[in-house]
Amino acid sequence: MSLRKKLAKQFLAALVLLAVPLFTLADGQWVLQESTLTYHVSHPLKQTDGVSHAAKGKGVCHAGQCDFLIAVPVKSFDSGDSNRDIHMLQVTRGGQFPMITVRTRLPEDASTSATIRADLEVQFAGQAVQYKQIAFQRVVQGGETLITGTIPLTLADFKIEPPSLLAIPVKNEVPVRVESKWRLM
Protein backbone atom coordinates (compact mmCIF):
# COMPACT_ATOMS: atom_id res chain seq x y z
CA MET A 1 0.00 0.00 0.00
CA SER A 2 1.40 3.36 -0.95
CA LEU A 3 2.01 6.01 1.70
CA ARG A 4 -0.60 8.22 0.01
CA LYS A 5 -3.34 5.58 0.28
CA LYS A 6 -2.38 4.87 3.87
CA LEU A 7 -2.60 8.54 4.76
CA ALA A 8 -5.95 8.89 3.00
CA LYS A 9 -7.37 5.93 5.01
CA GLN A 10 -6.17 7.43 8.28
CA PHE A 11 -7.73 10.73 7.32
CA LEU A 12 -11.05 9.01 6.60
CA ALA A 13 -10.94 7.25 9.96
CA ALA A 14 -10.32 10.58 11.68
CA LEU A 15 -13.29 12.09 9.87
CA VAL A 16 -15.56 9.22 10.93
CA LEU A 17 -14.51 9.70 14.55
CA LEU A 18 -15.28 13.38 14.26
CA ALA A 19 -18.66 12.73 12.68
CA VAL A 20 -19.98 10.45 15.48
CA PRO A 21 -20.56 13.27 18.00
CA LEU A 22 -22.13 15.36 15.24
CA PHE A 23 -24.83 12.69 14.60
CA THR A 24 -25.50 12.53 18.31
CA LEU A 25 -26.01 16.28 18.40
CA ALA A 26 -28.59 15.98 15.61
CA ASP A 27 -30.91 13.96 17.90
CA GLY A 28 -33.86 15.98 19.12
CA GLN A 29 -36.84 15.81 21.39
CA TRP A 30 -40.42 16.68 20.58
CA VAL A 31 -42.49 18.00 23.43
CA LEU A 32 -46.28 18.20 23.43
CA GLN A 33 -47.21 21.81 24.12
CA GLU A 34 -50.99 21.51 24.26
CA SER A 35 -53.64 19.11 23.08
CA THR A 36 -57.35 18.42 22.81
CA LEU A 37 -58.52 14.82 22.77
CA THR A 38 -62.21 14.26 22.12
CA TYR A 39 -64.02 10.93 22.22
CA HIS A 40 -67.39 10.62 20.56
CA VAL A 41 -70.03 8.18 21.78
CA SER A 42 -73.07 7.49 19.61
CA HIS A 43 -76.45 6.18 20.68
CA PRO A 44 -79.69 6.14 18.65
CA LEU A 45 -81.11 8.68 21.13
CA LYS A 46 -78.04 10.69 22.00
CA GLN A 47 -74.55 11.79 20.92
CA THR A 48 -71.93 12.59 23.53
CA ASP A 49 -68.43 14.04 23.38
CA GLY A 50 -65.84 13.91 26.15
CA VAL A 51 -62.89 16.27 26.03
CA SER A 52 -59.49 16.21 27.71
CA HIS A 53 -56.73 18.80 27.60
CA ALA A 54 -54.55 16.92 30.09
CA ALA A 55 -52.40 14.83 27.72
CA LYS A 56 -48.64 14.88 28.12
CA GLY A 57 -46.34 13.77 25.37
CA LYS A 58 -42.75 13.47 24.29
CA GLY A 59 -40.87 12.21 21.27
CA VAL A 60 -37.24 11.15 21.44
CA CYS A 61 -35.32 10.97 18.18
CA HIS A 62 -32.30 8.77 17.80
CA ALA A 63 -30.56 7.29 14.79
CA GLY A 64 -33.20 8.48 12.33
CA GLN A 65 -36.16 7.20 14.35
CA CYS A 66 -38.42 9.07 16.77
CA ASP A 67 -40.22 7.26 19.58
CA PHE A 68 -43.31 9.07 20.81
CA LEU A 69 -45.26 8.55 23.99
CA ILE A 70 -48.50 10.35 24.77
CA ALA A 71 -50.31 9.75 28.07
CA VAL A 72 -53.64 11.04 29.29
CA PRO A 73 -55.54 10.23 32.49
CA VAL A 74 -58.90 8.53 31.86
CA LYS A 75 -60.32 10.70 34.62
CA SER A 76 -59.46 13.90 32.75
CA PHE A 77 -62.18 13.47 30.08
CA ASP A 78 -65.06 15.85 30.64
CA SER A 79 -68.42 15.28 28.93
CA GLY A 80 -70.19 18.06 30.85
CA ASP A 81 -71.85 15.53 33.16
CA SER A 82 -69.78 14.35 36.11
CA ASN A 83 -72.08 11.39 36.70
CA ARG A 84 -71.54 10.14 33.16
CA ASP A 85 -67.79 10.75 33.44
CA ILE A 86 -67.54 8.63 36.58
CA HIS A 87 -69.64 5.96 34.89
CA MET A 88 -67.25 6.03 31.94
CA LEU A 89 -64.33 5.76 34.37
CA GLN A 90 -65.97 2.67 35.85
CA VAL A 91 -66.81 0.87 32.59
CA THR A 92 -63.34 1.54 31.19
CA ARG A 93 -61.75 0.12 34.38
CA GLY A 94 -60.14 3.50 35.05
CA GLY A 95 -59.71 2.74 38.75
CA GLN A 96 -57.26 0.00 37.98
CA PHE A 97 -55.86 1.43 34.73
CA PRO A 98 -55.98 5.21 35.19
CA MET A 99 -53.85 6.16 32.16
CA ILE A 100 -54.31 5.88 28.42
CA THR A 101 -50.98 5.71 26.63
CA VAL A 102 -50.25 5.91 22.94
CA ARG A 103 -46.85 4.88 21.61
CA THR A 104 -45.57 5.19 18.09
CA ARG A 105 -42.28 5.10 16.25
CA LEU A 106 -41.80 7.29 13.22
CA PRO A 107 -38.87 7.91 10.92
CA GLU A 108 -37.33 11.29 11.64
CA ASP A 109 -38.14 12.53 8.12
CA ALA A 110 -41.86 11.85 8.69
CA SER A 111 -41.97 15.18 10.48
CA THR A 112 -41.57 16.91 7.11
CA SER A 113 -44.57 15.42 5.28
CA ALA A 114 -48.09 16.89 5.29
CA THR A 115 -49.69 13.54 6.12
CA ILE A 116 -48.13 11.20 8.61
CA ARG A 117 -49.16 7.55 8.70
CA ALA A 118 -48.39 6.04 12.05
CA ASP A 119 -48.68 2.61 13.61
CA LEU A 120 -50.06 3.24 17.08
CA GLU A 121 -50.00 1.09 20.15
CA VAL A 122 -52.78 2.17 22.49
CA GLN A 123 -52.89 0.96 26.08
CA PHE A 124 -56.28 1.51 27.66
CA ALA A 125 -58.47 -0.34 30.14
CA GLY A 126 -55.73 -2.91 30.73
CA GLN A 127 -55.47 -3.86 27.06
CA ALA A 128 -52.82 -3.03 24.47
CA VAL A 129 -54.14 -2.64 20.92
CA GLN A 130 -52.27 -1.85 17.69
CA TYR A 131 -53.80 0.51 15.12
CA LYS A 132 -51.96 0.43 11.79
CA GLN A 133 -51.36 3.27 9.37
CA ILE A 134 -53.48 5.92 11.08
CA ALA A 135 -53.36 9.15 9.09
CA PHE A 136 -52.51 12.42 10.82
CA GLN A 137 -52.34 15.84 9.21
CA ARG A 138 -49.36 18.00 9.91
CA VAL A 139 -49.28 21.79 9.73
CA VAL A 140 -46.34 23.95 10.79
CA GLN A 141 -47.25 27.24 12.45
CA GLY A 142 -44.38 29.35 13.63
CA GLY A 143 -42.07 27.14 15.62
CA GLU A 144 -44.80 24.65 16.37
CA THR A 145 -46.17 21.64 14.56
CA LEU A 146 -49.91 20.93 14.69
CA ILE A 147 -50.86 17.28 14.37
CA THR A 148 -54.51 16.36 13.92
CA GLY A 149 -56.20 13.07 13.21
CA THR A 150 -58.68 10.52 14.49
CA ILE A 151 -57.90 7.23 16.17
CA PRO A 152 -60.67 4.72 15.36
CA LEU A 153 -61.03 3.16 18.81
CA THR A 154 -63.73 0.60 19.43
CA LEU A 155 -65.05 -0.59 22.77
CA ALA A 156 -64.68 -4.24 21.73
CA ASP A 157 -60.93 -3.77 21.10
CA PHE A 158 -60.48 -2.97 24.77
CA LYS A 159 -63.06 -5.46 26.05
CA ILE A 160 -65.27 -2.65 27.36
CA GLU A 161 -68.94 -3.48 27.81
CA PRO A 162 -70.95 -0.76 26.04
CA PRO A 163 -73.05 1.35 28.45
CA SER A 164 -76.79 1.40 27.72
CA LEU A 165 -79.56 3.95 27.66
CA LEU A 166 -83.11 2.54 27.82
CA ALA A 167 -81.66 -0.94 27.31
CA ILE A 168 -80.03 0.09 24.01
CA PRO A 169 -76.22 -0.07 24.09
CA VAL A 170 -74.06 2.69 22.65
CA LYS A 171 -72.26 2.05 19.35
CA ASN A 172 -69.05 0.06 19.47
CA GLU A 173 -67.12 2.75 17.58
CA VAL A 174 -65.76 5.51 19.82
CA PRO A 175 -63.48 7.59 17.58
CA VAL A 176 -60.99 9.81 19.37
CA ARG A 177 -60.13 13.08 17.66
CA VAL A 178 -56.59 14.26 18.37
CA GLU A 179 -55.49 17.87 18.05
CA SER A 180 -51.99 18.43 19.31
CA LYS A 181 -49.32 21.09 19.20
CA TRP A 182 -45.70 19.93 19.31
CA ARG A 183 -42.41 21.75 19.60
CA LEU A 184 -38.98 20.42 18.66
CA MET A 185 -36.56 21.13 21.51
Binding site: A14, A71, Q90
Partner: protein
Protein backbone atom coordinates in the same frame (compact mmCIF):
# COMPACT_ATOMS: atom_id res chain seq x y z
CA UNK B 1 3.69 20.75 -1.97
CA UNK B 2 0.95 18.06 -2.24
CA UNK B 3 2.97 15.85 0.09
CA UNK B 4 3.13 18.65 2.67
CA UNK B 5 -0.63 19.13 2.47
CA UNK B 6 -1.20 15.44 3.02
CA UNK B 7 1.14 15.50 5.98
CA UNK B 8 -0.82 18.36 7.49
CA UNK B 9 -4.11 16.51 7.05
CA UNK B 10 -2.73 13.36 8.65
CA UNK B 11 -1.32 15.40 11.51
CA UNK B 12 -4.73 16.99 12.07
CA UNK B 13 -6.42 13.57 11.97
CA UNK B 14 -3.93 12.19 14.49
CA UNK B 15 -4.52 15.24 16.70
CA UNK B 16 -8.27 14.57 16.69
CA UNK B 17 -7.69 10.90 17.49
CA UNK B 18 -5.38 11.84 20.34
CA UNK B 19 -7.91 14.28 21.72
CA UNK B 20 -10.67 11.66 21.75
CA UNK B 21 -8.35 8.99 23.17
CA UNK B 22 -7.18 11.35 25.90
CA UNK B 23 -10.78 12.19 26.74
CA UNK B 24 -11.64 8.53 27.00
CA UNK B 25 -8.63 7.89 29.24
CA UNK B 26 -9.56 10.79 31.49
CA UNK B 27 -13.13 9.49 31.77
CA UNK B 28 -11.80 6.04 32.65
CA UNK B 29 -9.60 7.40 35.41
CA UNK B 30 -12.38 9.30 37.18
CA UNK B 31 -15.36 6.96 36.65
CA UNK B 32 -17.87 7.31 39.49
CA UNK B 33 -19.57 4.28 41.00
CA UNK B 34 -23.29 3.84 41.45
CA UNK B 35 -24.46 1.25 43.93
CA UNK B 36 -27.36 0.48 46.22
CA UNK B 37 -29.72 -2.10 47.63
CA UNK B 38 -33.05 -3.34 46.32
CA UNK B 39 -35.56 -4.42 48.94
CA UNK B 40 -39.15 -5.59 48.98
CA UNK B 41 -42.12 -4.18 50.92
CA UNK B 42 -41.00 -5.94 54.11
CA UNK B 43 -37.46 -4.63 53.78
CA UNK B 44 -36.09 -8.03 52.74
CA UNK B 45 -33.42 -7.88 50.01
CA UNK B 46 -34.45 -8.90 46.49
CA UNK B 47 -31.93 -11.07 44.70
CA UNK B 48 -31.57 -11.19 40.88
CA UNK B 49 -33.48 -7.95 40.34
CA UNK B 50 -32.53 -6.36 37.02
CA UNK B 51 -31.05 -2.88 37.41
CA UNK B 52 -30.63 -0.75 34.31
CA UNK B 53 -28.81 2.58 34.16
CA UNK B 54 -29.70 4.52 31.03
CA UNK B 55 -27.77 7.65 30.13
CA UNK B 56 -30.17 10.56 29.66
CA UNK B 57 -27.95 12.18 27.03
CA UNK B 58 -26.45 9.08 25.42
CA UNK B 59 -29.58 6.83 25.76
CA UNK B 60 -27.11 3.98 26.30
CA UNK B 61 -28.26 1.39 28.79
CA UNK B 62 -26.07 -0.67 31.11
CA UNK B 63 -27.51 -3.60 33.03
CA UNK B 64 -26.62 -5.49 36.14
CA UNK B 65 -28.33 -7.76 38.66
CA UNK B 66 -28.62 -7.68 42.42
CA UNK B 67 -26.79 -10.30 44.45
CA UNK B 68 -28.28 -12.46 47.20
CA UNK B 69 -28.17 -9.49 49.58
CA UNK B 70 -30.00 -7.24 47.10
CA UNK B 71 -26.82 -5.25 46.35
CA UNK B 72 -26.00 -3.89 42.93
CA UNK B 73 -23.13 -1.78 41.64
CA UNK B 74 -22.13 -0.09 38.40
CA UNK B 75 -18.39 0.49 38.20
CA UNK B 76 -17.94 1.63 34.60
CA UNK B 77 -20.37 4.49 34.19
CA UNK B 78 -19.26 7.89 32.96
CA UNK B 79 -20.29 11.06 34.79
CA UNK B 80 -23.71 12.39 33.74
CA UNK B 81 -27.46 12.03 34.27
CA UNK B 82 -28.92 8.54 34.39
CA UNK B 83 -32.31 6.93 34.71
CA UNK B 84 -31.95 3.93 36.95
CA UNK B 85 -34.74 1.39 36.59
CA UNK B 86 -35.27 -1.72 38.70
CA UNK B 87 -37.45 -4.64 37.68
CA UNK B 88 -38.04 -7.85 39.58
CA UNK B 89 -40.59 -10.58 39.06
CA UNK B 90 -43.66 -10.09 41.22
CA UNK B 91 -42.88 -6.44 41.96
CA UNK B 92 -43.75 -3.14 40.35
CA UNK B 93 -40.92 -1.62 38.35
CA UNK B 94 -39.35 1.44 39.90
CA UNK B 95 -36.99 4.03 38.55
CA UNK B 96 -35.22 7.19 39.60
CA UNK B 97 -32.98 9.81 38.08
CA UNK B 98 -29.46 10.26 39.39
CA UNK B 99 -26.55 12.48 38.50
CA UNK B 100 -23.09 10.97 38.68
CA UNK B 101 -20.26 13.36 39.31
CA UNK B 102 -16.69 12.59 38.38
CA UNK B 103 -14.97 10.36 40.93
CA UNK B 104 -17.84 10.54 43.44
CA UNK B 105 -19.58 7.32 44.48
CA UNK B 106 -23.35 7.51 44.65
CA UNK B 107 -25.79 5.29 46.53
CA UNK B 108 -29.35 4.80 45.31
CA UNK B 109 -31.58 2.31 47.13
CA UNK B 110 -34.92 1.00 45.89
CA UNK B 111 -37.90 -0.28 47.87
CA UNK B 112 -40.16 -2.21 45.52
CA UNK B 113 -43.86 -2.80 46.07
CA UNK B 114 -45.74 -5.95 45.12
CA UNK B 115 -47.14 -5.99 41.58
CA UNK B 116 -50.81 -5.31 40.97
CA UNK B 117 -52.91 -6.14 37.91
CA UNK B 118 -52.07 -2.75 36.46
CA UNK B 119 -48.37 -3.44 36.65
CA UNK B 120 -48.88 -6.73 34.83
CA UNK B 121 -50.81 -4.99 32.06
CA UNK B 122 -48.15 -2.34 31.70
CA UNK B 123 -45.54 -5.03 31.32
CA UNK B 124 -47.27 -6.48 28.24
CA UNK B 125 -45.56 -3.89 26.07
CA UNK B 126 -41.95 -3.34 27.00
CA UNK B 127 -40.61 0.07 26.18
CA UNK B 128 -37.99 0.42 23.50
CA UNK B 129 -34.51 1.48 24.63
CA UNK B 130 -34.83 5.02 23.27
CA UNK B 131 -38.56 5.42 23.88
CA UNK B 132 -39.67 7.99 26.44
CA UNK B 133 -41.20 6.63 29.61
CA UNK B 134 -44.14 7.81 31.68
CA UNK B 135 -41.66 9.20 34.18
CA UNK B 136 -40.17 11.30 31.39
CA UNK B 137 -43.61 12.90 31.13
CA UNK B 138 -43.63 13.63 34.85
CA UNK B 139 -46.10 10.85 35.61
CA UNK B 140 -45.13 8.89 38.69
CA UNK B 141 -45.72 5.12 39.01
CA UNK B 142 -48.48 5.80 41.56
CA UNK B 143 -50.28 8.05 39.07
CA UNK B 144 -49.83 5.52 36.27
CA UNK B 145 -51.00 2.50 38.19
CA UNK B 146 -54.36 2.19 39.82
CA UNK B 147 -55.44 -0.46 42.24
CA UNK B 148 -58.06 -3.17 42.31
CA UNK B 149 -59.50 -1.38 45.36
CA UNK B 150 -60.03 1.84 43.38
CA UNK B 151 -61.81 -0.12 40.68
CA UNK B 152 -63.89 -2.00 43.27
CA UNK B 153 -64.94 1.37 44.69
CA UNK B 154 -66.08 2.52 41.24
CA UNK B 155 -67.90 -0.77 40.66
CA UNK B 156 -69.64 -0.50 44.03
CA UNK B 157 -70.65 3.07 43.29
CA UNK B 158 -72.04 2.10 39.87
CA UNK B 159 -73.97 -0.81 41.39
CA UNK B 160 -75.45 1.32 44.18
CA UNK B 161 -76.46 4.11 41.81
CA UNK B 162 -78.09 1.59 39.49
CA UNK B 163 -80.11 0.33 42.47
CA UNK B 164 -80.89 3.97 43.37
CA UNK B 165 -82.15 4.58 39.84
CA UNK B 166 -84.29 1.43 39.70
CA UNK B 167 -85.80 1.97 43.14
CA UNK B 168 -86.51 5.58 42.23
CA UNK B 169 -88.48 4.44 39.19
CA UNK B 170 -90.35 1.83 41.27
CA UNK B 171 -91.14 4.47 43.92
CA UNK B 172 -92.89 6.57 41.29
CA UNK B 173 -95.63 3.92 40.94
CA UNK B 174 -97.05 4.03 44.52
CA UNK B 175 -96.32 7.77 44.62
CA UNK B 176 -98.62 8.43 41.64
CA UNK B 177 -101.22 6.09 43.11
CA UNK B 178 -100.99 7.94 46.46
CA UNK B 179 -101.61 11.26 44.71
CA UNK B 180 -104.65 9.82 42.90
CA UNK B 181 -106.17 8.31 46.08
CA UNK B 182 -105.75 11.66 47.85
CA UNK B 183 -108.86 12.94 46.03
CA UNK B 184 -111.00 10.35 47.86
CA UNK B 185 -109.13 10.61 51.15
CA UNK B 186 -109.02 14.35 51.69
CA UNK B 187 -111.31 17.38 51.39
CA UNK B 188 -114.97 16.75 52.15
CA UNK B 189 -114.69 13.02 51.55
CA UNK B 190 -115.57 10.83 54.52
CA UNK B 191 -114.62 7.49 52.94
CA UNK B 192 -112.60 5.49 55.47
CA UNK B 193 -111.54 2.96 52.81
CA UNK B 194 -110.06 5.69 50.60
CA UNK B 195 -108.26 7.16 53.59
CA UNK B 196 -106.75 3.79 54.52
CA UNK B 197 -105.80 3.09 50.90
CA UNK B 198 -104.16 6.52 50.67
CA UNK B 199 -102.27 5.95 53.91
CA UNK B 200 -101.10 2.46 52.86
CA UNK B 201 -99.87 3.70 49.49
CA UNK B 202 -98.22 6.69 51.14
CA UNK B 203 -96.43 4.39 53.58
CA UNK B 204 -95.23 2.15 50.75
CA UNK B 205 -94.00 5.25 48.89
CA UNK B 206 -92.15 6.44 51.99
CA UNK B 207 -90.47 3.06 52.55
CA UNK B 208 -89.35 2.80 48.93
CA UNK B 209 -88.24 6.42 48.95
CA UNK B 210 -85.92 5.95 51.91
CA UNK B 211 -84.50 2.76 50.41
CA UNK B 212 -83.85 4.75 47.22
CA UNK B 213 -82.17 7.51 49.20
CA UNK B 214 -80.02 4.98 51.10
CA UNK B 215 -78.37 3.76 47.88
CA UNK B 216 -77.53 7.32 46.82
CA UNK B 217 -76.25 8.44 50.22
CA UNK B 218 -74.17 5.31 50.83
CA UNK B 219 -72.67 5.13 47.30
CA UNK B 220 -68.89 5.68 47.60
CA UNK B 221 -67.67 9.15 46.69
CA UNK B 222 -64.90 9.39 44.10
CA UNK B 223 -62.14 11.73 45.22
CA UNK B 224 -61.28 14.65 42.98
CA UNK B 225 -64.59 14.77 41.13
CA UNK B 226 -66.95 17.71 41.19
CA UNK B 227 -70.64 17.58 40.38
CA UNK B 228 -71.31 18.93 36.93
CA UNK B 229 -74.31 18.81 34.58
CA UNK B 230 -77.77 17.34 35.28
CA UNK B 231 -76.62 15.61 38.46
CA UNK B 232 -76.37 19.04 40.11
CA UNK B 233 -80.09 19.67 39.46
CA UNK B 234 -80.81 16.15 40.70
CA UNK B 235 -78.97 16.86 43.96
CA UNK B 236 -80.57 20.29 44.45
CA UNK B 237 -84.04 18.76 43.99
CA UNK B 238 -83.18 16.21 46.69
CA UNK B 239 -83.07 19.13 49.15
CA UNK B 240 -86.74 19.74 48.31
CA UNK B 241 -88.18 16.23 48.10
CA UNK B 242 -86.01 14.91 50.99
CA UNK B 243 -87.48 17.16 53.73
CA UNK B 244 -90.82 16.91 51.91
CA UNK B 245 -90.80 13.14 52.28
CA UNK B 246 -90.23 13.52 56.03
CA UNK B 247 -92.85 16.23 56.50
CA UNK B 248 -95.57 14.70 54.28
CA UNK B 249 -96.22 11.52 56.33
CA UNK B 250 -96.10 13.44 59.62
CA UNK B 251 -98.65 15.97 58.35
CA UNK B 252 -100.61 13.10 56.79
CA UNK B 253 -100.77 11.24 60.11
CA UNK B 254 -102.14 14.34 61.83
CA UNK B 255 -104.70 14.86 59.04
CA UNK B 256 -105.65 11.15 59.18
CA UNK B 257 -106.20 11.40 62.91
CA UNK B 258 -108.35 14.52 62.56
CA UNK B 259 -110.47 12.95 59.80
CA UNK B 260 -110.85 9.71 61.78
CA UNK B 261 -112.35 11.77 64.63
CA UNK B 262 -114.84 13.26 62.20
CA UNK B 263 -113.12 16.62 62.23
CA UNK B 264 -112.17 18.74 59.30
CA UNK B 265 -108.48 18.83 58.62
CA UNK B 266 -107.22 21.93 60.37
CA UNK B 267 -104.09 23.63 61.68
CA UNK B 268 -100.69 22.51 60.39
CA UNK B 269 -102.23 19.34 58.89
CA UNK B 270 -103.76 21.52 56.16
CA UNK B 271 -100.27 21.75 54.69
CA UNK B 272 -100.21 17.98 54.02
CA UNK B 273 -101.66 18.28 50.51
CA UNK B 274 -99.52 21.19 49.23
CA UNK B 275 -96.32 19.73 50.78
CA UNK B 276 -97.07 16.34 49.21
CA UNK B 277 -97.66 17.88 45.77
CA UNK B 278 -94.41 19.88 45.90
CA UNK B 279 -92.55 16.77 47.11
CA UNK B 280 -93.96 14.56 44.37
CA UNK B 281 -93.23 17.19 41.71
CA UNK B 282 -89.62 17.63 42.92
CA UNK B 283 -89.15 13.86 43.00
CA UNK B 284 -90.51 13.48 39.46
CA UNK B 285 -88.29 16.30 38.20
CA UNK B 286 -85.25 14.75 39.91
CA UNK B 287 -86.00 11.47 38.19
CA UNK B 288 -86.37 13.06 34.77
CA UNK B 289 -83.19 15.15 35.22
CA UNK B 290 -80.93 12.11 35.14
CA UNK B 291 -82.99 9.65 33.15
CA UNK B 292 -81.80 10.52 29.68
CA UNK B 293 -78.13 9.74 29.99
CA UNK B 294 -75.95 6.68 29.76
Amino acid sequence: MRRNALRDIVAFGMFVLCLQFAGALRAQESRPTLSGTVTGPSGAPIANAKVTAKGVATRQATETQTDSLGHYAFLTLSPGDYEVAVTAEGFNAQSSKVTLASGTPLKSDFGLIAASGAAQAAETTPTKPTAPTLEDLGISPTQAQGTAQDQARLDKRAHMLMMHQRLGLITMVPMIATVFTSFGAGGRSTSTADRWAHMALGSATGDLYFMTAYYAIRAPRIAGTQSKGPIRIHKILAWIHGPGMIATPILGAIAFNQKSKGEHVHGIARAHGPVAIVTAAAFGAALVSVSFKF
